[in-house]
Symmetry: C2
Subunit: 464 residues, 2 copies
């Protein structure tokens, strides 16, 4: 059925996505069709993210898909970074366009244009915007969820009176929104750090990142938050009249997280039996499995109780289809809990509870205790997934002191290495082995604020 | 400030959108930037719609933005209808594409391709999908919210075993989702009917519509639900094995509603003082207006009470800015209720409640009654908006019996006329006066099920 993770991890990943009915390739190369089950996970994730973004004071808005080609050219590094990936509309309405329009690969430029209009005085700052949108980046080696030509994401764009304010806000997004959603909702431990100059977003003065470890020991960038300095403010003339009556350039940030997080969820939690979905984002937290037709009424009563307790439940009443096949299928889909209800259980006043996130441990539970038992198990198993993933991650991070050792360690996991022993030249030689510095941290785990800080730890790894 | 509705309605519409900070033109002609206040209305509307769509059993999914040009060509009427409006990506990733990709103007074709894969047997039916997405249709005469080159919408796509099932579902969407949201949430009365052959969606066998009356007596199509018959099933081979073991073509539907509904909201409810937002979709239902600084603490206490009661509140504490200008601005934004709090009110133990949706009627309310009074007013005023709009609509519909009379009546409102007196030729001559048949109804208000039914009433009007 599924390829095993050890034998062929990329194939396992593809198999899980197909068999759990998460997504498929779209007809145009590199695009993705997100099926209802995959989209259900995305919706719950989106909701968790959206609520936290709003709690920081940002408002949602929507900017156009199509951007005049000339906008991108206003910020030199930005256009250099994104040009190779652009999809260009040259014809529309039956005619050739006077100026080609690009499909947004990200929206700094178009949003910059409007921030410039809307911001007049220091009273208008900070201006905190977010949008949920699709973007297109033409990828050479597309992969479902991880790197698709079109993907869904949120992109935040803010303007501030000072570098300090901008940095504080970008950092708040990093920790209070992204890290919290990844850890508390997706149960994915992430290493938070600063990107090296080489790995920085095109046009930023600082990119902060959250990196997750996949089942094959690679790194997956789960989200980034950028200080853009005054680069875009200068390019788009985002300026304001200060309290002292001077015209000043604003300081901007941008930050994004995407459907790639669903790829992270699959890779971090999945096993050889398929997907394992953290209860917090499980479209189906509990499936009540009818073993034989006689149990249908009881199954629905159980489901009703669970629904009333706020659990997302579905009833699988297809008793005409082989029980084993159905059970395997729910296992594949990673539904956290199965409640199996058959005539024999019912006679004993029990149901069988199977916990997918605990090696499918089974236990007979009295019907009277079922709702509370299931509720407690969902909470416990959410926490269990996180501690399991955290332990796995720690076990595969090796502290080394030379580049050669780092290359060796990165064959099966991550390495930490003093960045002073790597440097920008060291990054080039790592790159020859397909390895990158994922991020930099200070010894105490906090983030460096300058490019040239000494004594930093670099996390290096192969990456998706 | 604002143009008046009577003097220059189109200008009034533009002014309201600009001054209430709902939206702006995007940089590429015909595109739209939806600002936070406008997007806030859209989010609430979306939520109300999404909940009802899910209640019919449909699931959300996501299909790609880019569609191979050849897909559209598979359904002859469909490609003919949409070709003139397509935006085409010819270059991507620095190269010319082998096959140009169009930006979806609607997704029947790409979704059809996947329905064909996913549907094998009658057990897979009905298959009920919906997506929230952006689409692009190159418009010759774009207008914010009403007709933009890119717009946001939901598009539902379903497949069924029979024509009857498909019709029943498309009709359920029409009434239980669209009509309910428009009437109960947006407080917009709509006439529900069947489109004539001439006005039908490209590729449908039946288009059902909901039409609202704008402040200048025109019609605005607020949403449509289509029976697609077996046209797309044939073009994309969406077939299933029936219970009897025969291979059968499925019957499909599609249905959409968009950001145009926000345009409807503005036009149906707005007045010469600006926007008026129905409480159900008001991002700010109540603004607590601090008259003088001394009242700030009391204002926040009032806001906290209202928030605790589930009301969406904001505090305007800018006491250093002229009170009158602030009040006018909230009026412009159409916030349903202002609670004005000044030292004099507080001394009397009251606050002034101003109801925007009741000609800004003012009353002094005891602070102890404030939360309940405001809650009741929000409910009452939501209902009031609907009955007011319904009365206005009825007053401007004239029953006529000839085409000439219909043309005359349509100069300032709608006409109803026996469709037998119009016919397809009559539609052509109406069209010369810029008038269309908006929809057909049976005498009892129900929907005709065939193109050739006799004794139908036609609603005719100018339209947006």
């Amino acid at each position: 059925m599924l390829a095993s993770q050890v034998t062929d991890y990329p194939r396992w990943f593809q198999d899980v996505i197909a068999k759990a009915e998460l997504a498929e390739n779209g007809p145009v190369r590199g695009t993705m069709v997100v099926r209802p089950y995959g989209y259900g996970i995305w919706e719950l994730l989106q909701e968790a993210m959206n609520r936290r973004i709003k709690a920081t004071g940002a408002s949602n808005a929507y900017f156009p898909l199509l951007i005049p080609e000339s906008y991108l050219q206003r910020e030199a590094e930005h256009v250099e970074g994104f040009s190779p990936e652009l999809a260009v509309v040259t014809h529309a309405g039956g005619k050739q366009l006077e100026e080609p329009a690009v499909i947004r690969p990200t929206s700094e430029t178009v949003i910059g244009e409007y921030l410039a209009k809307w911001i007049q005085s220091y009273r208008d700052l900070p201006l905190l915007l977010n949008q949920w949108a699709n973007v297109v980046r033409w990828e050479l080696r597309p992969r479902l969820f991880l790197r698709t030509t079109e993907f869904l994401w949120q992109e935040g764009h803010t303007a501030h009176v000072s570098a300090e304010d901008a940095r504080a806000y970008a950092t708040r997004i990093l920790y209070d929104v992204y890290r919290e959603v990844m850890v508390d909702v997706l149960a994915i431990p992430v290493v938070v750090g600063r990107k090296t100059r080489r790995e920085r977003f095109a046009g930023a003065i600082n990119t902060m990142t959250l990196e997750a470890m996949t089942g094959d020991g690679k790194a997956l960038q789960m989200g980034t938050s950028h200080e853009l300095g005054q680069n875009f403010a200068r390019a788009f003339d985002i300026s304001y009249l200060s309290r002292e009556g001077r015209r000043e350039l604003a300081w901007t940030t941008s930050w994004g997280s995407s459907t790639r997080m669903v790829g992270g969820l699959i890779m971090v939690h999945g096993d050889d039996n398929g997907l394992r979905v953290p209860p917090a984002v499980a479209p189906v937290q509990v499936v009540v499995l009818v073993v034989k037709d006689e149990a249908i009424t009881a199954a629905h009563a159980i489901a009703d109780d669970l629904t009333a307790a706020g659990v997302r439940v579905t009833v699988d009443a297809r008793a005409d289809q082989p029980f084993g096949r159905r059970a395997v299928n729910w296992e594949l889909k990673g539904v956290p809990i199965r409640v199996e209800v058959g005539p024999r259980d019912l006679a004993a006043g029990t149901a069988t509870v199977v916990r997918r996130l605990r090696d499918s441990a089974k236990s007979a539970v009295n019907l009277t205790d079922l709702t509370s038992t299931v509720g407690a198990a969902l909470d416990a198993d959410q926490a269990h997934l996180l501690s399991e993933a955290t332990a796995k991650q720690s076990a595969r991070i090796t502290a080394v002191s030379t580049i050669d050792e780092a290359i060796e360690a990165a064959a099966s996991g991550w390495a930490t290495i003093p960045y002073d022993a790597v440097g920008e030249e060291g990054e080039d030689s790592l790159a020859e082995s397909g390895i990158t510095v994922r991020c930099l941290q200070r010894p105490d785990g906090t983030l460096p604020t300058e490019d040239n800080e000494q004594g930093l730890t670099a996390y290096v790894a192969r990456s998706y």
